[in-house]
């Protein structure tokens, strides 16, 4: 696993204090960094000559409500030539956090960040086109947050059939 050790050294050199913890779980390495350093970290990993993490496999977020810091944004980086995968993670606190966008480093992050904004409400500064992607443009709320309700509708069985039938908005002609 010397390739990943090299990657972590590159990160340490580029970020210094910004690299907070490195965890390993089931053979996968995750590096937690400070949110302010995300663009520098991505650029360092992409441009490092021995590593070439040119591919952003995925970008997503997790909501740990009611734990603080509430959000974690996860970047899945992949080096095609060396066959290495590394995960970057940073935690954001608050209800409408913002972080720098990595679109200039990885162009494929465009839609991923739009989806994270749509689902979690995390703002990406420097993103050319931050609009809702999956929900309608006038939707209120961010669905994948833990305090957003699932929208569960009561299931209609025989014992409550008439009650639900009365309340359901059937379409007339």
């Amino acid at each position: 696993m010397s390739g990943l050790d090299e990657a972590l050294n590159v990160l340490r050199a580029a970020l210094g204090e910004g690299l907070r913890t490195v965890t390993e779980f089931r053979g996968e390495t995750t590096a937690e960094i400070a949110p302010a350093n995300i663009v520098a970290a991505c650029r360092a990993l992409r441009d490092a000559p021995g590593l070439r993490f040119t591919r952003l496999a995925g970008l997503t977020a997790v909501d740990y409500w009611p734990e603080e810091p509430r959000f974690a944004v996860i970047y899945l980086l992949h080096s095609l030539e060396k066959g290495l995968s590394l995960r970057l993670l940073h935690r954001l606190a608050g209800d409408a956090p913002s972080v720098a966008s990595v679109v200039e480093v990885f162009p494929s992050a465009n839609w991923h960040e739009r989806e994270v904004y749509d689902m979690f409400g995390i703002l990406f500064t420097g993103h050319p086109d931050l609009r809702r992607l999956l929900m309608p443009a006038d939707w209120q709320g961010h669905p994948l947050r833990k305090d957003y309700p699932l929208g569960y509708e009561e299931v209609q069985f025989t014992f409550n059939f008439d009650e639900i039938d009365r309340k359901k908005p059937y379409a007339k002609e």
Partner: protein
């Protein structure tokens, strides 16, 4: 009916106007291509050569709502898609019928959440519900035949 009984077999058939119109409506009902999700694939399988839908007169799947009679809502309808569905239904000329194909169109299916309309009958009035996830092509054909039976019993003034 009356004339045949009196004069024997003249190669004639007598019907009421209502029966004749309902017969023509069922025998060449053109479905609108409204496949949304997985049920659309089973609808396409029903259209293909194994379970042929063209033997029921439904060979032509028109994409334009202006030229179709039957809207088979095949698949899950999201809240973003619901106004589109209603607009397309309004664009279809009378007489028109709706089959809600599959569990998601009938009642929301396994997706009981914020994004899916719980039953397409909240958006358009439905004539036949076909259950299944996805319903087999044979189940869809059974639903279509049920609709044909329903149409054959319709009164003339049903579609103004």
């Amino acid at each position: 009916m009356g004339v045949e009984a009196k004069l024997g077999d003249l190669g004639l058939v007598t019907l009421t106007l209502e029966k004749a119109i309902n017969w023509t409506r069922t025998r060449s009902m053109w479905p609108m291509l409204f496949g949304l999700a997985c049920c659309a694939i089973e609808m396409m399988s029903a259209q293909a050569s194994h379970y042929d839908l063209s033997r029921f007169g439904m060979e032509l799947m028109r994409a334009s709502p202006r030229q179709s009679d039957l809207m088979i809502v095949a698949g899950r309808v999201t809240r973003k898609m619901a106004p589109v569905l209603r607009r397309l239904y309004d664009q279809m000329p009378d007489p028109k019928w709706v089959i809600a194909m599959g569990d998601c169109a009938s009642c929301g299916g396994i997706f009981n959440n914020y994004a899916i309309v719980q039953g397409v009958d909240e958006v358009v009035p439905v004539d036949v519900y076909v259950a299944g996830c996805p319903p087999r092509p044979e189940a869809l054909i059974h639903g279509i035949i049920t609709l044909h039976h329903k149409v054959e019993k319709e009164k003339l003034a049903a579609h103004a």
